[in-house]
Amino acid sequence: MNKKVTTSKRKQAPAKGKGLAIAMLAKWRFHFTVAVIALLLLALMWHLAFLQVVPGNERGYEFLQGQGNARTIRHETINAYRGLITDRNGEPLAVSSPVTSVWANPKLFKNDDGQLRAVAKALGLKQSELAAKFDRFANKEFMYLKRHLPPHKAEAVMALGVDGVYATTEYQRFYPAAEVASHLVGFVDVEGKGQEGLELAYDHWLKGEAGAKRVIKDLKGRVIKDAGLIRAALSGKDVRLSIDLRLQYMAHRELKTALKAYKAKSGSVVILDVASSEVLAMVNQPSYNPNNRSKIKAKQLRNRALTDQYEPGSTMKPLTILAALETGKFSKDTVVDTNPGYVRVPGKTFVDPVNYGEINLERILTKSSQVGIVKLALQMEPETIRDIYQRFGLGAVTGTGFPGERTGTLPNRPKWHVTEHANFSFGYGMSLTAAQLAQAYNVIANDGTFRPVSILHHQEGVESHQVADPALVKQVRKMLSTVPEKEGTGKLAQITDYPVAGKTGTVHKLGSKGYAENRYMSLFAGMAPADAPEIVAVVMINEPGTQAYSGGKVAAPVFSRVAESALRLLRVPPRVSDSSQVAMVGGMQ
């Protein structure tokens, strides 16, 4: 049994030969083997302890956990909620709602028939299209399967439990007012970035700040658990526009109707609140539906009231008259001799439709006399006229911050040709936007106080300043109130229950070879009620295709309807007039 016995037996063995029990198994060999195994086990345990719990080891648990985290912990973006865009009363114009985008990692997606069919069916896609897409993205690790799904549909896809398919929460933008406010509001792209309009201009304000969180993912990219928030998403801030959605709707409808009626190419309407110079409505045609931009054309996109500049024509005459009054050389009773109905200047003859004879300043405006305004203007320096234009905000940015807004042109010439001088007095040889025109007329409505036009409600830091003598401005405004009267060029601008002041404009459009004979811009700029204006409105109809094309015939009636509806919507009390029973009833209410 013991070693001694074994040894002694072994020595005897050869003598005994085969067939004898020669040896018992050696204990020391047994224990030696066990000891070797035990030593190896101890060494292994020592090694394991170094791996798992001994700190400060180069390849110890700190290092291993770091390596593990580097492979499993990922940062995920938490998309921020984009701020609302509302009208002045809080009506939503652009809202974000949570949607789910389903994406895939083509390298982890098992591209077999069954999986493809199931996924395609759940997403409402064609299997062949999906297969082609997977082929196209075969070497990529990310591709969208479908974006912006309603959450319940995305859940149906995720419920399939297919490897390599994931869902992300995003926000989709909806525009409840659709094409009515689309030019102002603009839109965002599929990533939620502002692309047009105020969505673009105030993107930094609206977009908020995306948050981030740590997540632990398995090798197939599925999130196993949240490992902590890094920073919460900051929701974007709201933007409140100055527009009144009711007025916006109304103006949109009227403009659209008018464009159809006059077969015009395009048009804009701008309505300002006189006291604040805030835009109550700003509409253009053609427009588009921002919720469905699949067949959109570039011409539909422009917010023409801010981005298109054109010659204002006769709508500038009241400013020239005001400049004349300011010189002190003329008064409202100054009489200008327009005989014989035309005036010749070197290079050009200006003609009135009929010979108005001797007329005062008011009559020049009422009849929009070219001869009268030219004769008056030629008695002033051109700089005097240019100065008043400038004071009224022409040729300068309005400060709306609207993307692509134009400033217009107000040329300053070292030497004015007499034709240029004359043209300048009735709004040729310069350009402006509809918004600038409304802003300038707002100075007349506001008794000479200039306040920059604003598309935001209660915009801070806006300074108003007096740019003209209130008494003289009031005189001009009174003159303008004759335009919509019976003898005036803009009698179609009249409103039953409110006195109107305004001015027509019919502008030859510039063609490739100078002014085109048969293409016009039809304008009306005015305010109501004339005695104490609440609103200023500018109507611009581009290239009417009908026989009637003048501002008085095309733009004035649109102004009439728009202004009347606006005043009613704003609950401005109708003026009591002897001639109107309706007005009396309205006034007594």
Binding site: A13, G19, A23, L25, K27, F30, L41, L44, L51, Q52
Partner: protein
């Protein structure tokens, strides 16, 4: 048994127990089985079920849509293994003692057949399996059993060949080399190492002369070195184990992922089911690398407990070997020693590989890793040593009574001697 034993044993122990006297103490047929061993095995197997279920949850769900796919099959294999163990335990050890050489033949035939294209099934570049339709059988697992039976039988019968001259040594080495060569052709490097180490430890215990053994060790080590360096992928594997981080997305990928699992575990682990590495990061998480998941979920504490279970379990088997040595039952002593050496080697290599302590790969953790052949073969070994243990106890029950009881031949002893 050999003639020698058959002749000598009855002569040596002449237990003559009267029927009455035997029943007064215990019936030899009622000798107890080794309950502590079975309890330890039950504990290890239970841990195995839990670990397989936990570590295979994701891969099972992803491959089969049933997160318990592997756990269910694992349990079925355990039941099959237990049935097999009962069957083997029911066979008298005479069978193994007498027909030892046949098992060498069986091992060689199996290892040859598995290399025949069409018969053997090729997985991941290794031709190791027979596909029997309902189950795939890994040839090397059967061979492990055969090797232990053969060497126990051969060395116990021909010990003098080993002790004197070169014959016994030569035959033993030839057998090992032949089997190892066939295994390497599959290739199955892990099983080669386990089987070689098992055979060598049995040789050592059987009393191989030290200068021969040293020669063998040197030859073996040289052979392994040549094998490891001859084929570039093995060399790469060796390099990868020394510094897996140098090639962490290539050859070192699996090891780095395994090491990360160990590092995450710390003292107490992340808790059952909370392993991250099993979520597809660590390949073979439920088979060869199951220990890494244990380390991640139960920490160093769980690792030590599991190793402790194995130590106790193997110690118990060694205990049987010691008792067999005391009773001078060389076959039982060598067989149990071989089984203990085999389990020890497998545990050490499996854990050592998963923790970057040792090179090579492709070994299961006995009774824990998923793998039908391995489970059933290991259970068969358990059935085998339980029978040996039971026979030892039975004999022991008879033997001490010899001293106290009047010498009288009984029918039972005559049967035993025959």
């Amino acid at each position: 048994m050999t003639e020698l034993a058959a002749v000598k044993l009855p002569a040596k122990r002449k237990p003559k127990v009267s029927k009455q006297a035997a029943s007064a103490y215990a019936s030899p047929a009622m000798a107890s089985v080794d309950w502590p061993l079975l309890t330890l095995l039950w504990a290890i197997v239970s841990c195995g079920i839990i670990l397989v279920a936990s570590s295979s949850v994701s891969i099972a769900d992803s491959l089969f849509g049933d997160s318990l796919h592997f756990a269910k099959r694992h349990t079925v294999y355990i039941v099959l293994g237990m049935i097999g163990a009962c069957f083997i335990a029911a066979l008298p050890s005479q069978l193994w003692r007498r027909y030892g050489p046949l098992f060498l033949l069986l091992a060689l035939i199996l290892l040859t057949l598995v290399l025949v294209p069409g018969l053997g099934k090729r997985v991941n570049g290794s031709q190791r399996w027979f596909n029997l339709g309902f189950i795939t059988v890994q040839a090397s697992e059967v061979v492990k059993f055969c090797v232990i039976v053969f060497f126990a039988s051969y060395l116990s019968r021909r010990q003098e060949d080993l002790l004197y001259g070169w014959k016994g040594f030569g035959i033993s080495i030839a057998s090992v080399v032949l089997i190892a060569a066939l295994l390497i052709l599959e290739p199955d490097f892990g099983s080669t190492v386990v089987i070689t180490v098992t055979a060598m430890s049995m040789l050592f215990l059987a009393g191989v002369r030290l200068h021969q053994f040293l020669l063998l060790v040197l030859l073996g080590a040289g052979g392994l070195a040549v094998l490891a360096t001859a084929t570039p992928y093995r060399l790469q594997r060796l390099v990868s184990y020394l510094d897996p981080w140098a090639d962490q997305y290539g050859g070192g990928y699996q090891l780095t992922q395994s090491l990360i699992a160990f590092g995450r575990g710390e003292w107490f682990g992340s808790g059952l089911g909370n392993s991250i590495q099993k979520l597809f990061y660590l390949p073979e998480a439920h088979t060869d690398f199951i220990f890494a998941i244990l380390a991640e979920e139960f920490g160093l504490l769980g690792v030590l407990l599991m190793l402790g279970l194995f130590v106790a379990f193997i110690a118990r088997i060694l205990g049987i070997s010691r008792r067999a040595m005391a009773a001078d039952d060389k076959f039982a002593a060598l067989a149990c020693f071989g089984v203990a050496a085999m389990f020890s080697t497998q545990v050490l290599i499996n854990v050592g590989v998963a923790s970057g302590f040792l090179p090579t790969k492709g070994l299961t953790l006995p009774f824990v890793s998923w793998g039908g052949s391995s489970l059933i073969a290991n259970f068969a070994l358990i059935g085998f040593i339980l029978r040996l243990d039971w026979e030892l106890r039975r004999n022991a029950l008879l033997k001490p009574k010899v001293k106290r009881m009047p010498r009288k031949k009984t029918k039972a002893v005559e049967e035993l001697a025959a």
